[in-house]
């Protein structure tokens, strides 16, 4: 027998099966009926907003957009388990979590268009502008988590990264630092199977991405990312652990993005089979949770229709507000560079003052 053996398999958490039946009652999170309905409300709202955002992007009315359809349970289930004071480090696809964490929708639209005001989060919203550089948010999360620990605040820093992002050196550095300092951080790896076009099998030889936590000495679990209850339950435990001073955790959510990587020209048919897409469509997070709620008489067609209308109206309002917001100017941009503008920039500014 070889002395070199693979790492032990990862725990896989699931509460609901694809039809919405409870398969692991012991993992059922402790949620009120209202909280359960709220999860569905946010998922339906997000799905409608996502569809509208895709259309708006095609019409040129939004700028940069990374579709989220398919990942609603992963995104909403995890964010819902955090508190408003907890600090979120999103990456560019994590706009829904940021909005449910307090980012005004019109500012998310301005961000999409590349308006500076998009990143000017209100004082009571603990989110930072979505990260473009893959992995940068992971090391920053370790830093903010350490800040909470040093200040003895009962707050948690939480962040998201994709399957591809776990290949970045920064990913390991971040989880390792957080582990070394036992800082209150939660790292969510949303494994949507493809890093743009590259499948996880080509990304790493690791059996699961949750296993990457082993090297950093922190707990890692894999969760059915199409099951909002499983995601919520795992995240709640991770957040509670962090808040109680028990250190960081890593959660891998098994999920799928139905759409392209971004709206900037990615064509999934070049690297994904139709069969695979259909297979994941069958695991849809909304269908599954809707069935579960309906079996408990907690959700009706009327409820769904109301949310759909609400989401459409909210998108329209946010869009109108974004359109009406004052345009950026070059002098304004220059002024935003430093607290006190140095002489060279004051000189450069004169070229644009008119």
């Amino acid at each position: 027998m070889s002395a070199i053996a693979p790492t032990k398999p990862t725990t896989y958490l699931q509460v609901l099966d694809a039809e919405g039946n409870v398969v692991n009652p012991s993992l059922m999170p402790n949620l009120t009926d209202e909280q359960l309905r709220s999860l569905m409300h946010k998922m339906v709202f997000t799905r409608i907003w996502d569809q509208r955002a895709i259309k708006l992007t095609r019409q040129g009315r939004l700028g940069f957009y990374a579709p989220v359809g398919g990942q609603e349970a992963s995104m909403i289930g995890s964010e819902a388990a955090t508190e408003k004071e907890d600090f979120l480090f999103p990456s560019y696809r994590d706009v829904p979590q940021s909005v449910w964490h307090g980012w005004p929708l019109y500012q998310a639209f301005l961000y999409s268009r590349g308006h500076q005001h998009g990143g000017q989060f209100p004082q009571d919203v603990h989110v930072i502008m979505p990260q473009i550089i893959i992995g940068a948010q992971i090391v920053q999360t370790a830093g903010t988590a350490l800040a909470f620990k040093l200040r003895k605040e009962k707050r948690v820093a939480f962040t998201y990264i994709g399957d591809g992002g776990t290949s970045q050196g920064d990913f390991y550095e971040g989880i390792n630092f957080a582990g070394a300092y036992q800082a209150p951080a939660v790292f969510v790896v949303q494994n949507n199977q493809f890093a743009i076009s590259v499948p996880v099998a080509l990304q790493t030889a690791a059996e699961t991405l949750a296993n990457k936590a082993v090297a950093a000495g922190i707990p890692g679990v894999q969760v059915d990312g199409m099951d909002v209850l499983a995601v919520y339950g795992a995240m709640k435990q991770a957040v509670d652990r962090a808040r109680a001073g028990e250190g960081p955790s890593l959660i891998e959510t098994m999920t799928f993005r139905y759409g392209p990587h971004t709206m900037s020209g990615d064509d999934p048919t070049r690297y994904r089979s139709k069969e695979l897409e259909e297979e994941w469509q069958k695991k849809d997070p909304l269908v599954r949770f809707r069935n579960f709620l309906q079996s408990k008489n907690l959700w009706s067609k009327e409820d769904e229709d109301l949310v759909i209308e609400e989401a459409k109206a909210a998108v329209n309002d946010a869009l109108a507000k974004a359109d009406a917001y004052q345009k950026m100017t070059i002098p304004g941009l220059i002024d935003s560079m430093f607290k006190t503008l140095p002489a060279d920039l004051i000189a450069q500014r004169t070229e644009f003052d008119s």
Binding site: G63, F64, G114, Q116, I132, I134, S167, Q168, I196, V198
Partner: protein, 326 residues
Amino acid sequence: MAQLTMIQAISNAMDLELGRDEKVLLFGEDVGQSGGVFRATDGLQKKYGVERVFDTPLAESGIAGLATGLSIQGFRPIAEIQFFGFVFEAMDEIAGQAARMRYRSGGRYSCPIVYRAPFGGGVKTPELHADSLEGVLAQMPGIKVVVPSNPYDAKGLLISAIRDDDPVFFLEHMKLYRSFRQEVPEEAYTVPLGQAKVVREGKDVTIISYGAMVHTAEKAAEEWAKTRGISAEVIDLRTIRPIDIETIVASVKKTHRAVVLQEAQRTAGIAAEVVAQINEQAIFYLEAPVLRIAPPDTIYPFAMIEDEWLPTPKRVMSALEKVMSL
């Protein structure tokens, strides 16, 4: 001869070199199965196999480090950094490692790597995709930096870069990828590294530029000739490290006036280096100070106001106005 876009010319250069030399490898994020996010490597994996053209895990430092390790074993990697703004992730492997390899080993090892990356403004990309960071690279000894402005040069320069025995960073301006076509020979040919090109003859003032800004310079020169009857010479640097100062000096000796135009922010960039070298070699031929035309020293304002921020023909003309009035 075929009419090719710049991206087709780049793709064609890699195809020819992969076919010519089995030591040439091509890798990066999404370059294989998908053929690159801009399709620069479309069909190459199919043609040359997964051992020569392959997708990498998502890690720029890993990509650059892989290239270093492969190159000291005699391979000639073409390593794609998906967007130039991601280069900071790979900076140690490029500037701190590969660029120093020949020096560190006294010539025992070298790194004949080509790093390719799309960059450049005016296409409304997200944050850190469009940034012009070429000045950061150009300050690093041991590496050459190339920025083509058209399909013909892109193919010839890329082939030169692949055949070069030292690391070369090859920057591809996204706005130029598909904006126009040009006659490009089907066979392999080289455009030498380190040679600028006079792309428009003139006698009154010299405009020195590179990349997409060459076209802005040409537009301004055109306008200037029509409205003012003043003839501007336009120089395309093509390679920005090393800079071909001879071509510049020859032009300045003739025109006695110069402006340098770049898309990167003003301070400590390529334009500053050009001005310094003109100062060292041709100051007595000048009738006016050499001016820089560049965006202000701010973060690249991705998307919303980038068109106002990037130098426009109008801003080039007002700089010309200044140097001509002296």
